[in-house]
């Protein structure tokens, strides 16, 4: 521990909760990049935590469980999208590799070349993946026809489970199921019931579900693959 006594006491005051807003924010920022300080704060939190046992329970004004659970669905997806997607999308869009080129490279082996060459103006592609080198599914959407096709690329087989596709957009509230995905062949679906702007901008996510799909109508867990649409046309 290379932490100064002064920093240890600052950590103590932070854990206690007595710092003013500016000091609290400053220490919260420092703990992100200073492991010793972070450990000191955690140690102080543990020292003081037994005090919480002595706090009398207070019944909340209402039951928040349903609201919390719907947030869990949203949070799981949001964090997966942030971690798995935004960085990669930015990388694709920057530099020499244009987004269209990446989509094209992936699409060539998937029989999409004819569409690409025709330059259909309202066709979009999304690569659903866990990491940049592990594309699992490719989603193509024709906005005019409101049709959606999902092709497995390298999705690991799930013998006793099913892959389920979800449409996620803030405008929709909860994720909407677009149905189960075939593991060895393309799955066709349609998005006619959704606003084209939502279809275009939404996040597409795949979860692993029981064979018949999610029993609750909501994703059962965090998505295993996510992606967003990229226009393939000019």
């Amino acid at each position: 521990m290379s932490l100064s006594p002064d920093d240890d006491l600052a950590a103590a005051e932070y854990a206690l909760g007595a710092l003013d807003p500016a000091e609290r924010a400053a220490l919260a920022a420092r703990r992100q990049r200073e492991p010793d300080l972070d450990a000191a704060i955690s140690a102080w939190e543990r020292r003081l935590a037994p005090l919480a046992e002595a706090i009398a329970p207070v019944a909340p004004p209402r039951d928040f469980l349903a609201e919390i659970e719907s947030r869990l669905d949203g949070a799981a997806i949001a964090s997966a999208v942030v971690v798995d997607l935004t960085r990669r999308l930015r990388r694709w869009r920057a530099g020499a590799i244009a987004a269209g080129a990446v989509a094209a490279a992936l699409a060539i082996g998937l029989g999409l070349r004819e569409n690409m060459r025709a330059g259909l103006p309202h066709e979009y592609v999304a690569v659903l993946q866990k990491s940049a080198d592990q594309p699992a599914f490719v989603v193509t959407v024709n906005i005019d026809a409101r049709s959606l096709t999902v092709r497995p690329v390298a999705a690991p087989p799930q013998p006793d489970k099913a892959y389920e596709l979800w449409l996620i957009d803030a405008k929709l509230g909860a994720p909407r199921s677009l149905g189960l995905l075939k593991q060895n062949a393309a799955t066709a679906s349609n998005v006619a019931s959704y606003d084209p702007a939502v279809v275009e901008n939404a996040t597409y996510a795949v979860t692993i579900e029981p064979p018949g799909g999610s029993p609750t109508g909501k994703p059962s867990g965090a998505p295993v693959f996510v992606g967003k649409l990229i226009p393939t046309g000019p």
Partner: protein, 186 residues
Amino acid sequence: MDLGVKSDAQDLVALMARVASRDRAAFAALYRQTQAKLYGVVVRIIQRRDLAGEILQEAYVRIWERAADFDPAKGSPIAWMATIARNRALDEARRVQPVALEDMPDGFDPPGEDVDPLSARQRSESLQALMRCLETLDPEKRQILLLAYYRGASREALAKRFDRPVPTIKTWLRRSLADLKDCLSS
């Protein structure tokens, strides 16, 4: 809800393990067993009920997300969960206009009387050890420390309440905390 009782604490440890493995049913059970406790933690720091409900929800989302980080060797589940709820409440308390301690609404007993509604039998060993160390502090300094913990009172609010300069409060808090650390490690 006797969370200080050992069998309940063990139940919570088992529930936490299931929550860490993404078991939603276990999460619902954990919520049912702990919501009033955590709401008690939050509402002492954030008196506005609308904000307190929001913070409670956010705290449970974090508990779900971080359940795998919980280590039963380092403390009880309720202490771990309360720390998460408390930190969220403190962040919010520092964001919204601070409430002066004099302005606190009725129904919140001063921590001096409020500090231990558990019977001695129900106190965990770690709480007993902490209470013994708190007893060694000067009464006024102990009360300042407990107000900071239970109400999230800032140095400024404590300075007004006890009619002392802010630097004095800071010095007292730090001295008290240092004394507590020594006492706990002895």
